[in-house]
């Protein structure tokens, strides 16, 4: 059952990714992206990361994608129904880069390190499952977040504050000088 669900979610995620790249209108690409994000949330659930699945749907598929949609509609970009691909040397370059990246990733991810991971994997997974039962799906993330990682967490808050200020300053219309 888990394997069937994983294959289903994986196919939707990869298909959505292809749709993002080949989509003819920006809105279509965005909706493909939402499908990808939702199926990634499903995969997170299969890996027992329930809290991440929830914030993936709420923050990513909800908030960030709506922000993109808002900008597309604000700039009135939904009408150019043509795939604006770069051709010629750019396309060849992209094939080379993609081939090299795929080769490196497959070699790195499928390579020798995994047998070492699998050896200690079972008890780590069991420990995480026990912690989820004991503290709950949110508590298992929140406990290290507010103890060992609290500095990083506070810096994240600072980063978001800076991002808000930067977004407001950048998107604000330029004020014309007096007398013009």
């Amino acid at each position: 059952m888990t394997d069937v669900l994983f294959i289903l979610f994986a196919v939707v995620a990869v298909g959505g990714g292809v749709g993002v790249v080949t989509g003819r209108s920006p809105v279509a690409s965005l909706l493909f992206m939402v499908a990808t994000l939702a199926s990634l949330a499903g995969i997170y659930v299969l890996f027992e990361a329930h809290f991440l699945a929830a914030i993936q749907v709420l923050v990513y598929a909800g908030a960030i994608m709506v922000l993109f949609l808002f900008v597309i509609m604000l700039l009135n970009l939904g009408h150019d129904y043509r795939a604006d691909l770069k051709y010629g040397s750019w396309f060849l370059l992209s094939l080379v880069v993609v081939g090299l990246t795929a080769g490196v990733l497959v070699q790195g991810l499928m390579g020798t390190g995994e047998t070492g991971l699998r050896a200690g994997g079972a008890e780590v997974a069991a420990a995480i499952d026990a912690a989820v039962v004991e503290k709950g799906a949110v508590g298992v993330i929140a406990d290290p977040l507010f103890t060992d990682w609290v500095v990083a967490f506070e810096l994240m808050g600072l980063l978001l504050l800076v991002a808000i200020v930067a977004a407001v300053v950048l998107a604000k219309p330029r004020e014309r000088p007096e007398g013009k």
């Binding site: 888990t2 394997d3 994983f6 994986a10 995620a13 990869v14 990714g17 292809v18 993002v20 790249v21 989509g23 920006p26 690409s29 990808t36 995969i43 997170y44 890996f47 990361a49 991440l52 993936q56 923050v59 990513y60 908030a63 960030i64 922000l67 993109f68 900008v71 604000l74 700039l75 970009l77 150019d80 691909l85 770069k86 750019w90 396309f91 992209s94 880069v97 993609v98 990246t101 795929a102 990733l105 497959v106 991810l109 499928m110 991971l117 699998r118 780590v124 997974a125 995480i128 993330i141 290290p144 977040l145 994240m156 980063l159 978001l160 991002a163 930067a166 977004a167 950048l170 998107a171």
Partner: protein, 97 residues
Amino acid sequence: MLTPALLVSALLFVIGTLGVIVRKNAIIIFLCIELQLNAVNLAFVALSRYTGIEGQLYVFFVMTVAAAEAAVGLAIIISIFRHYETVSVDKFNLLKW
């Protein structure tokens, strides 16, 4: 289930890279960068079953950074659109030589 998840992650990352290179629309390029971030998130979540809960914390941080990046990036796109009336990246050539 680790190997298939890492394979899906690699595939999504490569698709995102392809999109960043071949598309001209700045908003689609941003979407493809988000796709790459999500591919890495998937690898983090899959590996967290083997290395501990920290992998899920990294995903949490990556999502926060992605939100900040999307806000600033879209503000830049709005600012550029005001100036050039387009979001096609081959029209922005001020820094090209």
